[in-house]
């Protein structure tokens, strides 16, 4: 699925790097050793995959129903804003165990409301969710800036003060590792996987047990998935039917509008939690551009895996490698591999285009084959 595009983009990046007089091989090595060579960097990769996985999990629901939820960026932003309503009032002395859950819950509500708006626009005003989403994205950014330049501003810059520790997603002492964050993301993904995988095929990865350390853990995960997969839900089936053809789904008795609204709300809730993670974990404050492009990243991930839930965590991890690895390249002591981090984004873009292109070509070939059958 991804091997050819990956190779093509690697070769393309190699050409770009060589033309800049950089050592492409050394750069690749520094990229990987930078992003994975130290415990802290590994933690950064995993923790950057957390918001991506959360967001992509939500998007799996809407894309399965054929909804291009481009408004996800705005839903992330609203989630961050709603989480901040609580987070900015928490003092260093507050010890209630409900602070973080309340922030996450409120963020989910914020994201869900914003997504519901886009869904209602589509259902009742016939505004395509793409256009509605783009508009709502703009509005959410302006609400954010209005708050940050107004009542919520602390100090010189348009941002809130740093949140106090009790308001932050708890991390292991002295690290940036947050088991709760990982639990949230993996939990959300498992739920979505279960909801969508109606009658899914069993997954077999041969030889996994022979891979040291990680292998057995992954194998256990695969078993769990195989246990969940065939069970699926009726809802997932209905969403898929809507995604194939809303008209036929409706004729079959599926309440299309209701499920459009529900899937958007569910996605918005997860996007909202993503926003909360951005605010109370990644930045520790509310500041401009709080979504960090995670929403769009989620869209890319879901398109890249062709809306198949199984591959989402792996791709999220891979996407999280790119910013961390490119940061290590950009801040490299060896000038031969000092590369502007924006090249990492170029790589990612080329990769996504390549995969989409390969998908398109494959579908076209499949159609041709079908037409040729008499």
């Amino acid at each position: 699925m991804m091997l050819l595009p990956l190779l093509v983009s690697l070769i393309l990046m190699g050409i770009i790097l060589s033309s800049l007089g950089k050592d492409a091989g050394a750069a690749l090595e520094r990229f990987l050793s930078g992003a994975l060579g130290t415990p802290n960097a590994r933690v950064d990769v995993i923790m950057l995959a957390v918001p991506m996985l959360l967001c992509a999990s939500g998007l799996l629901l809407t894309y399965t129903a054929g909804l291009w939820n481009i408004g996800v960026e705005g839903q992330v932003t609203m989630g961050a804003i709603f989480a901040t309503i609580i987070a900015r009032s928490i003092t260093q002395e507050d010890t209630s165990p409900f602070i973080v859950p309340a922030e996450l819950l409120l963020a989910a509500v914020g994201g869900a409301l914003w997504a519901a708006l886009a869904a209602l626009l589509r259902i009742h005003a016939k505004v395509n969710e793409i256009f509605g989403g783009v508009a709502l994205n703009f509005i959410s950014v302006n609400i954010l800036l209005w708050l940050l330049n107004g009542d919520w501003k602390v100090g010189t810059y348009p941002q809130t003060a740093d949140f106090n520790t009790p308001a932050l997603l708890p991390r292991l002492e002295g690290t940036r590792f947050s088991p709760l964050g990982i639990g949230l993301a993996v939990g959300a993904w498992l739920l979505v996987f279960w909801a969508l995988n109606h009658g899914g095929k069993k997954l077999v990865i041969p030889g996994l047990n022979r891979v040291p350390v990680v292998g057995p853990i992954l194998a256990l995960g695969v078993r769990l998935l195989n246990f969940l997969a065939p069970r699926g839900t009726r809802w997932g089936l209905q969403l898929r039917a809507i995604g194939r053809s809303p008209r036929s789904a409706s004729l079959l008795g599926v309440r299309v509008n209701r499920h459009i609204l529900l899937s958007m709300i569910a996605c918005g809730a997860l996007a909202g939690i993503t926003g909360a993670v951005q605010a109370i974990f990644v930045r520790g404050r509310l500041s401009p551009g709080i979504s960090g492009g995670i929403g769009f990243m989620g869209v890319l991930i879901v398109l890249l895996v062709n809306i198949r839930p199984l591959w989402v965590p792996l791709i999220a991890l891979f996407f999280a490698l790119v910013p961390i690895g490119s940061l290590k390249l950009a801040s490299s002591l060896d000038p031969a591999v000092q590369i502007d981090a924006s090249l990492g984004n170029v790589f990612q873009g080329v990769l996504v285009l390549g995969v989409l292109l390969a998908n398109g070509l494959r579908e076209r070939a499949a159609r041709k084959r079908k037409e040729n059958i008499p």
Binding site: S33, D44, I205, P288
Partner: protein
């Protein structure tokens, strides 16, 4: 699907191999690795480039020094990267000294310094040491740009025909207030002394864009603000932001036949993009002060300090001794150039000190009484713009 699985397995194996196997760089004994963290691009022809060239100067002057530069650390360019992560990446590669070269890195620099007590941090333009909130491995350094801004104001006053000068400001804080006020004081002085004008006839307007440089959708667009200044009757723009929009717009208007001028900021070569409308550049030259800090660190004599450095008055443009300077622009006439030289000399020997009373704040309250000379701290923490300046003194909130 088969390919996909193969790819998945290959990726997992690659990740595991990379995580456990790859070698780390080894460092020579007498080598000093220095990290520089910049807020903007290292080629912005402004604030960040001046730091980048300071880093190159250090590398040239002191053998056995290696640099790691990370530029564009801001929410727009690197939305999911924190200063802590950058510092960590530098320390992993052996950095023992790290310059964080922007005001807003302040709080994060202090946190990083607590986390890495064996690494020395220099927070440029900050005051953590002065305020006694910094751990002992943090120093501050800044140049007394106020002098050079006064010179810039003087050049603007010599040139304006509409008696209206505009100041393109970044965001509002102590530093930007005192620099804007310095431009005004220089302009007022030269307007009265050399143009025979009255202070009341000089219009001086400040507009703040909201950050050190343009971030679309977040700040005001400096190009629009600059055009607005000229449309409103100003004919000289003095820039206080990190980047060159003020100069670019002035050139565009001049190309269309308007008689307008600009004074860029921060970077020695900033006039080069439009010499014909450039009255000069007040600029930082971080090399000499950086070299002093690096030498002290190498020799083990470094002590935390809040350094607010003056230019080398014997030759403010000497690249090896002066920490800041003023390049006269090609648009100044020979006579105007002589006035500027005389003004610089007067600032240098102390015969002119524009931060001398009577001076009032913008709201009419007294800043300095008759004959009172401002202390360093009174200037550093200037709480308001001065009487006679138009523009906001405090953020809207």
């Amino acid at each position: 699907m088969k390919l996909a699985r193969l790819f998945g397995i290959a990726l997992v194996i690659a990740l595991v191999a990379a995580a456990f196997g790859l070698p780390r760089p080894i460092q020579a004994q007498d080598e000093l690795v220095i990290g520089y963290i910049l807020v903007g691009p290292q080629n912005d022809k402004g604030w960040s480039q001046a730091h980048f060239e300071g880093a190159e100067y250090v590398e040239k002057m002191i053998p056995g020094v290696k640099k790691i530069v990370l530029d564009k650390l801001n929410g727009a360019d690197r939305p999911n990267v924190t200063l802590e992560q950058v510092v960590e990446s530098m320390v992993e590669q052996g950095a023992k000294l790290i310059f964080t070269t922007s005001d807003e890195f302040g709080p994060d620099t202090l946190k990083a310094a607590e986390k890495f007590p064996d690494v020395i941090f220099i927070h440029v333009s900050g005051d953590g040491v002065l305020k006694k909130v910094a751990p002992p491995n943090v120093g501050n350094v800044m140049g007394k740009m106020e002098y050079m801004k006064q010179v810039a104001g003087c050049a603007a006053a010599l040139k304006t025909q509409t008696n209206s000068i505009a100041y393109l400001g970044p965001l509002i804080n102590d530093e930007t207030r005192r620099l804007a006020a310095s431009v005004y004081l220089g302009a007022r002085y030269c307007f009265e002394k050399y143009r025979g004008g009255k202070a009341a006839d000089l219009t001086f307007e400040v507009k703040w864009i909201g950050f050190w440089f343009n971030i679309p959708g977040v700040t005001l667009d400096p190009t629009e603000v600059a055009n607005g200044f000229f449309n409103g009757g100003a004919d000289v723009i003095v820039s206080g932001i990190d980047t060159t929009e003020g100069t670019v717009v002035a050139k565009q208007r001049a190309d269309k036949g308007e008689k307008v001028f600009a004074i860029p900021y921060d970077f020695q070569g900033a006039c080069e993009i439009a010499p014909e409308i450039c009255l000069g550049t007040p600029y930082f030259h971080w090399g000499p002060s950086y070299v002093n800090i690096v030498k002290a660190v190498k020799e083990g004599t470094w002590k935390p300090a809040w350094d607010w450095l003056s230019p080398d008055w014997s030759d403010i443009n000497n690249p090896d001794t002066s920490n800041l300077g003023f390049v006269k622009g090609a648009a100044l006439s020979e006579d105007e150039g002589k006035i500027i030289d005389a003004f610089i000399a007067a600032l240098g020997d102390g015969s002119v000190n524009l931060f001398t009373g009577p001076l009032n704040f913008q709201d009419g309250t007294v800043y300095l009484k008759e004959g009172e000379v401002a202390t360093d701290e009174q200037i550093w923490y200037l709480p308001q713009l001065l009487e006679g300046m138009k523009g906001e003194s405090k953020p809207a909130n």
